[in-house]
């Protein structure tokens, strides 16, 4: 198991390197430098700026320099917000996005898995159809539609919750969390239903019943573990989805998180910010994929066994 984790971590390094390289060069070949949008700037000023941001060096030197910075955890200064570093901007937005993603994940996992398991227990009955229709609704109602509609109904017409902002009130966080989480709740519901149906038709479930175990033991102890394996494997990609979903949700609800910064940076062509955030997001996503991979293996004794044998 330990060796497996080490080898997966080692595999993640080339992935990250690819991400950094692609992003770095994409941003460099982009038409229009960061300062070109401004009104006529004296050439000497541009020169000074370029020197300050090392833009006058050969590109491979810039690349190596950037890699070196990254290794030391430095994302460099922001083009747009002079005097502030990308690190500071990320540090400011991260806690908010993390909190939002956490709530959304909570919504997704709790509602999704419960609905899916519940539906799988009585397939092709109302107990199955009702949660699964709701899940279909969640899948076909994307966050950028769901969010505004929720705001319109609960924020504007009923005035139950604030329409935007990110204060301390729990009311501030309900709508964004639901908006961001509902799509994934729906997806997880379908996934866990499928997984549970598959497992509950296995021979060993019949064995458990033949042993005279109460039905709840059969479901929770013998069924759930195998049934949730696809769910666990999906949590990594789901996290990646939540991060990109935060672009939209933070824009709709005007939440000052990383996602909103990223979209703004994209429009402002704040290249160091884009570069830094992309690398940062990518690292997070790769990490979460790694984590969900490791957990999937860990909860599956057969895979664990193969690892031990294949050493």
């Amino acid at each position: 198991m330990f060796r497996f984790i080490i080898s997966r971590v080692l595999q993640a390094i080339p992935v990250l390197l690819v991400v950094v390289t692609i992003t770095f060069f994409l941003v460099r070949v982009a038409p229009g430098g960061p300062f070109s949008a401004e009104k006529a700037v004296p050439p000497e000023v541009i020169k000074a700026l370029e020197a300050r941001y090392h833009l006058d060096e050969p590109i491979w030197q810039q690349y190596l320099g950037y890699l070196n910075d990254l290794v030391h955890g430095e994302f460099g200064p922001s083009f747009r917000y002079p005097g502030r570093t990308v690190n500071e901007l990320i540090a400011g937005g991260l806690p908010i996005t993390a909190e939002l993603a956490f709530y959304a994940m909570l919504v997704a996992v709790i509602i999704g898995v419960c609905a899916g398991v519940f539906a799988a227990l009585k397939p092709n009955t109302p107990q199955d159809y009702i949660p699964m229709s709701a899940a279909m609704l969640g899948i076909c109602m994307p966050s950028f539609l769901m969010g505004p509609l929720l705001v319109l109904v609960f924020g504007i017409w009923f005035e139950w919750v604030p329409v935007s902002g990110w204060g301390d009130l729990p009311g501030d966080k309900i709508l964004p969390a639901i908006t961001l989480g509902s799509g994934y709740a729906a997806f997880l519901a379908r996934l866990s239903r499928g997984g549970m149906l598959e497992v509950m038709s296995q021979d060993y479930i019949r064995t458990a019943r033949a042993k005279g175990l109460p039905e709840w033991v059969v479901v929770l102890k013998h069924g759930l573990r195998g049934g949730l394996i696809p769910v666990v494997a999906f949590l990594g990609p789901a996290f990646a989805g939540l991060l990109s979903g935060s672009f939209v949700v933070e824009t709709i609800f005007q939440i000052p998180g990383l996602g909103r910064f990223y979209v703004q940076a994209a429009f402002n062509r704040d290249y160091t910010m884009i570069l830094g955030t992309t690398v940062f997001f990518a690292t997070l996503i790769v990490l979460f994929n790694l984590l969900s991979d490791i957990v999937s293996v860990w909860i599956n004794p057969k895979l664990r066994h193969q690892l031990r044998e294949g050493k």
Partner: protein, 558 residues
């Protein structure tokens, strides 16, 4: 004393195609300490009947329509779910067919063993674990303390079945239902498991319902036998009555279908066969053949990959016109040997000479004309036919590809082939899923002989079939061998089938050939230890002989 008395049990399944009467009003009873065997072919309803007793059938689509099942004075069919939960695994326990899929892969064996004790006897986990360790030892698991923490996939098939038995018996049930408990196992393991069940039954004086399709197995274990067909019990009675004085047509048919002794000697064929053998040169000769596989499961970058020696230094010749039976247990490499001969798997070293041509050095293009001359019949008629091709497409493909037919003659040739293998001409445009297993195997046989091959390799061609169908296909193969003058390598795990069909026999074990010889001498006087062990493990469908054989086995100290 009647422990279980079942009356008019009727179970229906409601499917899209209509109501299937899986069990159609059957009655039987079991006494304490006795074994009732329920025998029948697939789809006869024998398993559904037993699962219905404990309401273990999926409901819906299944529905128990009528009947009563008195067990210890209670009617199981009227009992509510919580009563049934108390009976299941406590008073009545079940051993299922496939030990590979019937144990939970995510829980340790120990955890699964103690569950019945905890829920039925309400004892602490610690005490339950002590008891579980004891019973693991009792069913013959070595180092039971250590094995308690293992997961099912760390056990072999036979060992898993022992675990299943331990799990069923841990609560000291009064009735044990065994649903084909040895069907998925090799014959030597089967003998061990059957003896174990028998010993434990005598020791605990429990009643057993033994479900099986295999009359030979039943002959050894049963006191009473019930024969099922299409949801009905057509005949039941004491085991000797059924085997020696069976009345019903179907019982007789089942017994007659068991391949016994050597192949039926048609008037002139045996002397001709022997003549041929001495006259003709060998059609196929293999020498020092090795086929090794690399196990990439540990990652293809790893240095020390496991090497599986599926076929390890085998030399063998097949004479023109003979049927050579190749026997061995699962994993012995017999199928790989067959595929190596046809160059379907890459061989590691050695030579395969077919009619003077060295096959291992041929390019795919050079191989094409040779392929026409050697064909294969596969085991599973459900996967050996392309589901999207009609009978016509399947049979016409080789004919047209090898230019053995023109577009004008192909239909007539396909129809002739269908006649040959006993398929109705009207079925020419049907798809494989519209046929039964036996008919599908006929299509597969038709495809194999379509190119007029000289050598046919038959890989377990009847082991997926019911015993009556098996007999038909075996006779079909024998007839075709004679009609088309075929040479055949017949691969099987089933010694009685091989004995019935083969002129000569080769025994494989762990990738090596341990013994070859003419069929009857080999059966009566095996030389190699493994062959002896294999032969002594075969059950025979004759209760008296079977009882004698078991006595012999015990005396041998097996």
């Amino acid at each position: 004393m009647k422990l279980l008395k079942v009356d008019n049990l009727t179970t229906h399944f409601h499917t899209r195609e209509g109501v299937v009467k899986a069990v159609d009003g059957i009655s039987f009873s079991v006494n304490q300490g006795e074994t009732l065997a329920i025998v029948g072919e697939s789809g006869s309803g024998k398993s559904v009947a037993c699962y219905s007793l404990l309401k273990l059938i999926p409901q819906p689509p299944g529905k128990i329509v009528a009947g009563s099942a008195l067990f210890d004075g209670r009617d199981l069919l009227q009992a509510d779910e919580s009563t049934l939960q108390n009976i299941r695994g406590n008073d009545i326990a079940i051993i299922f067919q496939d030990p590979m899929t019937c144990l939970n892969p995510y829980l340790t064996v120990g955890e699964q063993l103690i569950e019945p004790l905890i829920y039925h006897h309400n004892i602490s986990r610690k005490n339950a674990a002590v008891r579980a360790t004891e019973i693991l030892g009792e069913v013959g698991i070595v180092e039971p303390e250590k094995r308690m923490g293992s997961y099912p996939h760390e056990f072999s098939g036979g060992m898993r079945q022992r675990v299943m038995i331990a799990m069923a018996l841990i609560t000291e049930p009064k009735l044990l239902i065994c649903d084909e408990p040895t069907t998925a196992l090799d014959v030597t393991i089967q003998a061990q498991i059957l003896n174990l069940v028998k010993a434990l039954q005598i020791k605990r004086n429990i009643a057993v319902i033994f479900i099986s399709h295999d009359l030979a197995v039943v002959a050894g274990v049963a006191d009473n036998v019930a024969v099922m067909k299409d949801g009905l019990i057509v005949e039941q009675g004491p085991v000797d009555e059924i085997f020696y004085r069976g009345q019903h047509e179907y019982t007789k048919k089942l017994l007659a279908a068991i391949p016994e002794g050597a192949k039926p000697l048609s008037a002139q064929s045996p002397p001709m066969n022997t003549d041929k053998k001495s006259e003709h040169k060998p059609l196929l000769s293999i020498s020092a053949l090795k086929t090794h596989f690399h196990d990439y499961s540990g990652g293809w970058l790893k240095r020390n990959q496991k090497v599986i020696k599926a076929v390890d230094d085998v030399s063998l010749t097949i004479q023109q016109g003979e049927i050579l039976g190749l026997v061995g247990e699962s994993g012995s490499g017999k199928s790989t040997l067959g595929r190596s001969i046809l160059q379907l798997v890459p061989i590691t070293s050695g030579s395969v000479v077919f009619d003077g041509t060295e096959l291992t050095r041929l390019s795919p293009t050079q191989m094409k004309p040779v392929r026409r001359r050697m064909q294969m019949i596969f085991q599973d008629p459900y996967s050996s036919l392309n589901p999207r091709m009609t009978v016509f497409d399947t049979l016409a493909e080789p004919l047209l590809y090898h230019r053995l037919a023109t577009r004008k003659t192909v239909t007539a040739q396909v129809l002739a082939l269908m006649d040959d293998v006993g398929l109705a001409r009207a079925a020419i445009r049907k798809y494989p899923h519209e046929f039964s297993g036996g008919q599908r195997q006929r299509i597969a046989v038709g495809r194999a002989i379509s190119t007029k091959p000289e050598l046919v390799i038959a890989d377990e061609p009847v082991s997926a079939l019911d015993v009556t169908i098996q007999a038909q296909i075996l006779d079909l193969i024998l007839a075709l061998v004679e009609k088309h003058d075929l040479t055949m390598l017949f691969i099987s795990h089933d010694l009685s089938v091989v004995r019935y069909i083969a002129d000569r026999i080769a025994v494989m074990h762990h990738g090596k050939l341990v013994e070859t010889g003419i069929t009857e001498p080999l059966f009566s006087a095996p030389k190699h230890d493994y062959t002896k062990k294999l032969l002594s493990a075969i059950p025979v469908a004759d209760p008296v002989k079977e009882r004698q054989r078991q006595v012999d086995l015990i005396q041998l100290g097996n």
